[in-house]
């Protein structure tokens, strides 16, 4: 693209590389950032997986002590933090990055540099958390960080408080960015009710992030103040209320559950119609159910606290709201099933993972309803039954959906197909390993095995021991399955079969662009006249109402490209997101060890970085008003949180 090679002026030139290592470090391209999110997630996924391997090894037999209690506690805490904050959330962010602009017919997100900022903050926040292993021990107060245990210096929870705060900055910036992108950058004609369901779910998810993150930010600030500065928010000795932490944590934590599952629901809602060659059954219902789940999700947080110090009135109220949320969830499940009904199903790997998603998520949803039976919740709570439940939702749900998305959009990103043979092998071993690992946990929980215990007590009996052994075997299966996936991924990137532009006969706008997607996404911004616009450009209905292919297919837009000499303005690369973000390291360590020098250096670094960002010249030279200038204004505020 000649139009992206530009004159540089000003005192600090902007980087210009479009390829090579520097290009990745300085990129503001949503596609490159999405890819970086993906590979970073992959690394953290294997780290978190290794931690779960240690857990399963320890619990494979009763009374084992492969790990000491101290190490075990650090490992399960970091497993939770990793999988929630460093794997599932950012993997969704990878999809948001890559797909949102493409699906709404835009050339990038609203604030490309802020987008790069989000990525680097995520990466460094993750690295920051993991350095704790080498600096006196990782957090060991569990991912929910219940006070007052988390206030205690031997719990290393200062790393948790600061690390999650850093990750929160990343997510909050990304949430603002994606909300503005979706609301304000849709292609002409793309009304709300023509948006792909994935975009809807992305919008809801990002609103949930927007409103839930400030709550956890406050909770973490309080925790940090208590643990490091000697404040008294949660200290019962002076009248502080430990239950306040639980409320604040779950006010965030429950929307967080939907933050993790809704993107996967969106992905599945895109893949099922393609795999069934039929439109989504009840688009409006699926969309509204998703939005309803998101917002009712704010009103059910105390169901995580049914055995905590809350009274029967509160328990009853939250039991009711929790049951209520099962209704929109059920709507979605039935709509997905009926999307397949009467279709012509092609069992490609993404379709298999999507069907697996519906099936596994249903199990997680049903065990969720049993939690709402409060009297019995007191038996299930904090046992392996709950561990089974949320793994069915987050692993059988979110992760199955996200993996389906990886297989589905891989050709879009690389122009190559992933091996279907290996993909199916991955799916079946994954399904088997997953159910073998987490299925028995339902039973071991009801038979009395609590979670977060470093030792499986022999006194629970041989049945529980057998279930634990099965779970540990399941981990082995999952591990090999993950290797199959990794092998498939690497070999397909290197030497996968060419996919063509539209390998799945897909429906949404991103397939209108060539694969792999060119730097500027669309030669011409498409004008949208239908929901599933791309499909409607390929098929029309004949007089009897049956769909028939349009002979010209989708090629018209590519042909037109040459005819257009519209000036395409693409965001320039920038060093500043990376450079500024490095300031979180001194700030983070300064806050953990309460070193005012480091804190000062960190804040100065961030402020100087902000100025570098503001006064960075815009390469185009048409005005020196960077597109994402505004975010310089919120960046320090976000950093201050």
């Amino acid at each position: 693209m000649s139009s992206t090679e530009v004159e540089h002026k000003g005192y600090s030139g902007r980087p210009r590389a479009q390829s090579g290592f520097t290009a990745w470090l300085t990129t503001t391209d949503h596609k490159k950032i999405g890819i970086m999110y993906f590979f970073t997630v992959l690394v953290f996924f294997f780290l978190g997986g290794a931690e779960s391997g240690l857990i399963r090894a320890q619990l494979a037999q009763a009374e084992q002590s492969l790990l000491t209690e101290e190490i075990y506690n650090q490992v399960f805490t970091m497993h939770g933090i990793t999988m929630v904050f460093l794997v599932v959330m950012p993997l969704s962010a990878a999809f948001f990055n890559y797909l949102i602009p493409l699906m709404i017919g835009a050339r990038d997100v609203a604030f490309p540099r802020l987008n790069a900022f989000s990525y680097w903050v995520y990466l460094f926040g993750g690295i920051f958390l993991y350095t704790s292993f080498f600096l006196g021990g990782a957090p060991n107060g569990s991912w929910v960080g219940y006070a007052p245990l988390s206030l205690d210096s031997v719990s290393n929870m200062a790393y948790y408080a600061v690390g999650l705060q850093i990750l929160g900055v990343s997510s909050l910036a990304a949430a603002v960015n994606f909300i503005v992108t979706i609301l304000n950058m849709r292609a002409p004609g793309m009304t709300f009710m023509r948006m792909p369901v994935f975009i809807w779910m992305a919008l809801v998810t990002n609103f949930l992030l927007l409103f839930a993150l400030p709550i956890i930010a406050v909770a973490l600030f309080m925790l940090h103040a208590d643990a490091v500065l000697g404040a008294q928010f949660f200290n019962p000795a002076t009248g502080g209320d430990p239950i306040l932490w639980q409320h604040l944590f779950w006010l965030f934590g429950h929307p967080e559950v939907y933050i993790m599952i809704l993107p996967a629901m969106g992905i599945v809602s895109e893949i099922l119609p393609v795999g069934s060659r039929k439109p989504l059954f009840g688009y409006a219902a699926v969309v509204f159910a998703g939005a309803a789940i998101g917002f009712i999700g704010f009103g059910v947080w105390a169901h995580h606290m049914f055995t905590s110090a809350i009274g029967p009135v509160a328990r009853s109220a939250f039991a009711l709201s929790t049951m209520f949320i099962a209704v929109p969830t059920g709507i979605k499940i039935f709509n997905w099933v009926f999307t397949m009904w009467g279709g012509k199903l092609r069992f490609t790997t993404p379709m298999l993972f999507s069907i697996g998603f519906i099936s596994m998520f249903t199990i997680g949803g049903l065990s969720g309803v049993t939690h709402a039976i409060v009297p019995h919740n007191a038996q299930q709570h904090d046992t392996y039954y709950v561990v089974a439940h949320f793994h069915y939702v987050l692993f059988g749900g979110a992760l199955f959906g996200l993996i389906a998305g990886i297989y589905f959009w891989f050709p879009k990103v690389t122009g190559k197909m992933m091996s279907e043979k290996l993909g199916k092998m991955h799916f079946w071993t994954w399904l088997l390993g997953f159910n073998l690992t987490f299925g028995p946990m339902h039973m071991s929980g009801l038979l009395g095995q609590p979670r977060r215990t470093a030792v499986l007590p022999g006194e629970l009996g041989s049945t529980v021991e057998l279930y634990n052994l099965l779970s540990s075997l399941g981990f082995v299966v999952l591990f090999f399955s993950a290797l199959v996936f990794l092998y498939n991924l690497i070999t397909s990137i290197k030497s996968g079969e060419a996919s063509g532009d539209d390998p799945w006969d897909a429906r949404t706008l991103e397939w209108l662009t060539p694969s792999p997607t060119p730097f500027h996404n669309f030669d011409v911004i498409p004008t949208v006249t239908h929901r599933d616009e791309f499909w409607h450009r390929k098929y029309a209905e004949d007089e009897s109402g049956r769909a028939i292919p349009v002979p010209a297919g989708a090629s018209e837009d590519h042909d037109e490209a040459g005819a257009h000499d519209e000036h395409i303005h693409m965001p320039d690369p920038s060093y500043w997101p990376l450079v500024q973000t490095l300031g979180f390291f001194p700030l983070g360590y300064g806050l953990v060890y309460l070193n005012w020098w480091l804190i000062g250096i960190g804040i100065t670094w961030l402020v100087v970085g902000m100025y570098g960002w503001i006064i960075e010249p815009v390469a185009e030279g048409d005005d020196d008003d960077p597109v994402d200038d505004q975010h310089d204004a919120t960046a320090p505020t976000a950093a201050a949180h």
Binding site: Q61, A62, E63, Q64, T68, E69, N73, N140, Y146, P148, L149, D152, S153, V154, P236, A237, D241, S276, K278, G282, Y283, A285, T307, S308, A309, R315, S316, L320, M323, F324, I331, F334, V337, F338, M340, W341, K344, L345, F347, I355, T362, L366, S367, T370, I373, P375, A378, Q379, H381, D382, T383, L447, P450, R451, P457, G458, E459, G461, S462, L466
Partner: protein
């Protein structure tokens, strides 16, 4: 056996007995095991009292409904997958492009809502039933969660005990629970959760607040439980026991507990042990600075478990070990190897390593073995 190699003292006797049973069972009998409720006394599916029975009676129909929905949805998925797969002889035409069906969608919105409304009524009823004070006469026991053991205080009898709560059969027991009081011990108090699955669901214990839980056993027996709210380092080693006795046995037990501990005769090894108990010398903390052996005067709460009638209990160290001479020696010699403690950290919680010589150990164990009311 491996666990004996890695855990020097081995588990409780009950646990070892069961472990010996495990090997012959093998993988072949999975089907049988899946059907069985298991052989554990910590089983939520095998209620032994009304406060565990009521939730159980509530969950069974809900589980049945869930199972029905599960079969329905999975059946629909499997049917669709088989019926609507693309067949090899497919002509490549598109299927009918159905966009939705409002009537169907209303149907699967309303039906679940109705089912849930039906479930909601007994749920709310059950919440109040289980949490309210029992109607009949009940026994009150105060429970305090420490890192990492449970303490019980019977206000009616002024009895302190640890790890094992002794209750009369057929009588509701209302537990008034809290977590360690910082005024009393270096443990600032963290959340714990009291859970004896066969007697009731769990209830968290919160420092600075009182929470309540009703339990009742309808048969004599030893019911297992453990702390169910993550409470730090030795959370896994914080077990609970409920010992249910017939009223007569219970009365005897109360009487024993209300008797002061016997003082060993002068000149015996146990008497030496008693002196060491009060003063170890060499700037080592004395047992008596944290524990209590009530001989006369008033009883009061203390930092560590009350030892007055230590050997009226079957297990110790957070109920992870059988109480016998061998285990007691191992514990006194190196507590951290039995149950990790935080005495040397800023928290200063738990049993310190007292650097006992062999003679001191002999004397102390001899003394502790005399603390037996029977």
């Amino acid at each position: 056996m491996r666990e004996h190699a890695t855990r020097p003292i081995g588990g409780s006797a009950a646990a070892s007995r069961r472990r010996r049973l495990r090997l012959p069972l093998g993988i072949a009998s999975i089907a049988v095991l899946l059907a069985a409720c298991g052989d554990a006394e910590q089983n939520a599916l095998d209620p032994a009292g009304p406060f565990a029975q009521a939730p159980h009676d509530l969950i069974i129909p809900v589980a049945a409904i869930a199972l029905f929905v599960f079969i329905l949805v999975q059946g629909l998925i499997i049917y669709s997958v088989i019926k609507f797969r693309t067949r090899p002889d497919d002509d490549g035409s598109l299927p009918a492009q159905v966009h939705g069906n409002t009537r169907l969608e209303i149907f699967w919105t309303v039906i679940p809502a109705v089912i849930l409304a039906v479930i909601a009524v007994p749920t709310v009823q059950g919440i109040f039933d289980i949490m309210d004070e029992p109607d009949e006469d009940f026994l009150t026991v105060e429970v305090i969660g420490h890192r990492w053991w449970f303490e019980y205080y019977y206000p009616d009898f002024d009895i302190y005990t640890a790890n094992e709560i002794v209750i009369p059969v057929g009588t509701p027991v209302r537990l008034e629970m809290t977590a360690a009081d910082p005024a009393r011990s270096p443990d600032q108090g963290v959340l714990h959760s009291f859970w004896i699955p066969r007697l009731a669901g769990k209830q968290d214990m919160v420092p600075g607040q009182t929470t309540f839980l009703n339990i009742q056993a309808d048969e004599p027996g030893r019911f297992l439980g453990q702390c169910a709210e993550y409470c730090g380092l030795s959370h896994a080693n914080m077990r609970a026991r409920a010992v249910a006795m017939d009223q007569a046995d219970f009365d005897t037990w109360v009487e024993q507990q209300m008797t002061p501990a016997a003082v060993p005769d002068e000149g015996t090894l146990a008497a030496q042990g008693r002196e060491l108990y009060h003063d170890l010398g060499d700037n080592r903390p004395a047992c008596a600075s944290c524990h209590q052996v009530w001989e006369d005067g008033s009883r009061g709460p203390n930092v560590g478990p009350d030892l007055t009638h230590l050997f009226s209990r079957q297990e110790f160290v957070g109920a992870i070990r059988d109480l016998d001479e061998e285990n007691l020696r191992a514990w006194l010699l190196d507590p951290n190897s039995v149950k990790p403690m935080q005495y040397d950290t800023p928290n200063q919680i738990g049993m310190p390593n007292l650097d006992l010589t062999d003679e001191e150990l002999d004397a102390l164990v001899a003394y502790l073995m005399t603390l037996d009311p029977s």
